[in-house]
Symmetry: C2
Subunit: 81 residues, 2 copies
DNA sequence: CGTGTAAGGAATTCTGACACG
DNA sequence: CGTGTAAGGAATTCTGACACG
């Protein structure tokens, strides 16, 4: 179910998080909801699971950066010897 | 996915139907979305599939009554001899 | 019967900011 | 850093009605 079909209100109910938290985790690049033409967010069930996982880890002491998805393997710096 | 999570707008996109049709099929007892506290409809993926099926049958000539789910087997009238 | 539409209101969501720590 | 909140606006959805056929 990677179909982006849920509004933030439904996600709020499903995850138990606040809209503030949900939007913040998006701002921190932890989730990537789609947008309607009007600008409203649309989430998938995967997003919901991810949010639950994220919040659990947060309570265990992780911060948003540590929970970020494995970034694209860009190679930079580390000049060769 | 019998989880009622989609707003009518998403259902409109997924089915290709108009909101008018979607609401009308509900009025005719063909689908049964839930409601938010505020009164907004929430549909499941099952509802979406059902709507697509319904509309297809409609175009084949069926009417809303004929497409109604098998009604509860209530017994009435038909006085015994 | 099944569907389109204009009308007015209400629920939902959005952004940017101030706050705290 | 992560989250709460009040503020104002905009997108979304709701109902009941008129229309056509």
């Amino acid at each position: 179910m990677e179909n982006k079909v849920m509004s933030i209100g439904v996600v709020r109910e499903l995850t138990g998080l606040t809209e503030r938290q949900i939007r913040y985790y998006e701002q921190r690049k932890l989730i990537f909801p789609e947008r309607t033409k009007g600008g409203n967010r649309r989430y998938s069930f995967e997003d919901v699971n991810k949010l639950i996982y994220i919040h659990q880890k947060m309570q265990e002491g992780f911060n948003t950066v540590e929970l970020r998805e494995p970034p694209k393997p860009r190679r930079r710096g580390c000049a060769p010897a």
